[in-house]
């Protein structure tokens, strides 16, 4: 029995590290082969909790800085999606905020993706780990095939 694969959308989780291009390229290869839609997903860190600093002006300042960062990240993602669109790939940009692995899995569910692509390590810098903690958690909990793109530290 040769069972046909359910071809659905591809979610690519990216973190703007220097290996982001390789991760996106792998998502593009999958989406192109199947003629499916590519969702560029960036999970932004949640708002920092400043324990011990409850002064209003500090939290207002960090909120504003975070909002600026998020706007910037979404703009970069949209630009990438537009470039891919010009190359004939239906790509969409999505920025969500929260715990990385959980939000990635929620996004896969939300868009009904059939594939998930992410780097083997994120920006966390824990390159002594063989596989990054986010990648590990995602692979463990994902119900769809996960493509891990090798991402290594330069040292």
């Amino acid at each position: 029995m040769t069972e046909g694969r359910i071809v659905g959308d591809v979610v690519v989780a990216i973190d703007f590290s220097d290996r982001t291009d390789a991760v996106i390229a792998e998502g593009v290869a999958l989406a192109r082969a199947a003629g499916s839609t590519l969702h560029l997903l960036h999970v932004a860190a949640g708002e920092p909790v400043l324990a011990g600093y409850d002064k209003d002006e500090i939290s207002a300042f960090t909120r504003e800085a975070r909002a600026g960062e998020l706007t910037d990240e979404h703009r970069r993602l949209r630009e990438t999606a537009e470039q891919l669109g010009a190359g004939g790939v239906d790509a969409r940009a999505l920025v969500v905020m929260g715990p990385t692995a959980q939000k990635i899995l929620e996004a896969v569910e939300h868009v009904g993706a059939s594939h998930l692509v992410l780097g083997s390590h994120g920006r966390g810098g824990l390159h002594h780990l063989l596989v990054g903690s986010v990648a590990e958690e995602v692979v463990r909990r994902a119900t769809v095939p996960v493509v891990l793109v090798p991402v290594r530290g330069t040292h």
Partner: protein
């Protein structure tokens, strides 16, 4: 032409990986290399004489298992997807990584034979994801 390598040990995860890899090879117009790695059993005490089959039998067994899986799963070489099989001796992850050196993708099941159920990832898929130079696809069987 691209090349997709898939590791098959007969486990449900590796069968799911096989189907995924075959479909992806068809979609991409790539060749499919199906790899089975067998290992001489490690013994903690000296076995009785004749209890352990000679290595050449183990290799032949591995090859028979692979061919049986291919026939059960209906995977055969076709004009769509050129298929080749490799049976190699050694540690599973090392054998797969060697085969995938010049591949576009290495496809593995999330857990093969011999995995501890408590492991987050099968140990072979974990080692592959850690050391491969190409993207590694981890496919679940359920």
């Amino acid at each position: 032409m691209g090349k997709i390598v898939v590791g098959v040990d007969g486990s449900p995860g590796s069968r799911a990986a096989l189907h995924w890899a075959h479909e992806e090879a068809k979609l991409r117009g790539a060749t499919l290399e199906i790899v089975t790695v067998w290992q001489f059993p490690v013994m903690t005490s000296l076995p009785a004489f004749g209890a352990v089959p000679p290595p050449e039998d183990l290799g032949a067994d591995a090859e028979r298992t692979l061919l049986a899986v291919l026939s059960e799963e209906g995977i055969a070489a076709s004009d769509d997807v050129p298929v080749s099989t490799v049976v190699t001796e050694g540690a599973a992850a090392a054998g797969l990584l060697e085969a995938a050196k010049d591949a576009d993708l290495l496809v593995v099941g999330s857990r093969g034979h011999g995995g501890f159920t408590g492991l987050l990832l099968g140990s072979v898929s974990h080692q592959c994801a850690s050391h491969a130079t190409c993207p590694v696809v981890v496919v679940r069987s359920d």
